[in-house]
Symmetry: C2
Subunit: 219 residues, 2 copies
């Protein structure tokens, strides 16, 4: 029931994995990484349910990227690359890693940080909190994203190149994660542009059944 | 008196300006930017006074970068590029933007984010809080950094390419800043390597007189 849906608490750190699905790497003409990498989004990117619209920066080519987000349960340092690492995750969410793609291309060419192209206010629409119990296996769920009713992204998380324990291990080998911090686990293929007024719907299915907590509907 | 020194509160967002002093751009062989750019450090980089040592990542070429940090007083959106913007700053600190330089060079070549090379735990030693009243003109102070007693960096903030209002305007055109968030304003020339056990001392002088609040001493 809608009244039981919980919002995500405000995190301090949002770490986002890049290039974690082979077909998405191919569609952007990128190189496959030999180890995971991540960038940071500031907490001010978070757009809670019904808090839209997404604000498109001037002259930007704005892209959506639907992702599974892990919500950290308490401070963790140096997690192991094993199933144990998943104990650090108290729940999940669906998130859309909005990206000013043309600004990102420019940054990549110049070897500059991704902080601007990924970090504009409202650049992270999120679903409600999904309790861990609702997702028995986070590597076996389906993510989807539609624009104006048309399906654009729809893939299983089993396609991740690096699994979630490996991602957690990598990120925590650099920096601790804390309660309510988010780890976005990368986007599957099908990313593309949206313009002002487009309706974006996204969500997650477990065994073919959509989780109400995971629904995003935003313009 | 030492007993009156205040620690920085824990920020959510730490924005760090790159390439804001011409001689530093030259020493690293970088291109002079036509507008400011920034990257993010996670809050877990902060190393409060006497909380050392700095933890050097394996196989890293660890560099120091002394910087003037602005401490934000309350949530601000879209600050103007004028003296007015400085009203958003409730005080200052000295910070050392520790950087795994070889990891950064690799990221720049591949067009990858700077989050890892700038984001390791302990990668931001900070001084105590410097009340705004102690720095009448933040564009007219001297920053210095010594390694094992040898002076490595010593320059006036008047050498900044983009002044602090312009930096604040740029960053807040992308994302709001909130109370206790930090804006690091770039490093002057003289960056270089340190190894385990090296003593780093840094500080700030106003009209030639060192501010006790701004002292950093860390290994
Ligand atoms: Mg993404
Ligand atoms: Mg970055
Ligand atoms: Mg720096």
């Amino acid at each position: 029931m809608a009244s039981n849906l919980l919002r995500l608490s405000r995190p301090r750190t949002i770490a986002c994995i890049g290039r974690n699905y082979a077909d998405h790497i191919a569609e952007l003409g990128n190189t496959r990484p030999t180890e995971p990498f991540y960038f940071l989004k500031p907490a001010t990117t978070i757009l809670q349910p019904k808090a839209g619209p997404i604000l498109a920066p001037k002259n930007s080519n704005l892209h959506y990227e639907v992702e599974l987000a892990a919500v950290i349960g308490s401070t963790v340092e140096e997690l192991p690359n094993s199933k144990e690492a998943l104990k650090a995750v108290k729940g999940w969410a669906v998130g859309i890693d909005m990206t000013a793609r043309n600004f990102q291309e420019a940054a990549k060419k110049k070897g500059l940080p991704w902080s601007l192209c990924k970090g504009f206010k409202t650049f992270l629409p999120v679903s409600h909190f999904i309790p861990a119990s609702k997702i028995p296996n986070p590597h076996d769920v389906e993510l989807y994203l539609k624009v104006n009713g048309e399906l654009k992204q729809c893939d299983k998380t089993s396609l991740m190149l690096f699994d979630i324990p490996r991602l957690l291990q990598h990120v925590t080998s650099v920096m601790p994660l804390e309660e309510d911090d988010l780890l976005l686990t990368g986007t599957p293929k099908g990313v593309g542009p949206v313009v002002d007024g487009d309706l974006i719907e996204a969500g997650i299915r477990v065994n073919g059944i959509e989780l109400e907590e995971g629904r995003i509907e935003v313009r």
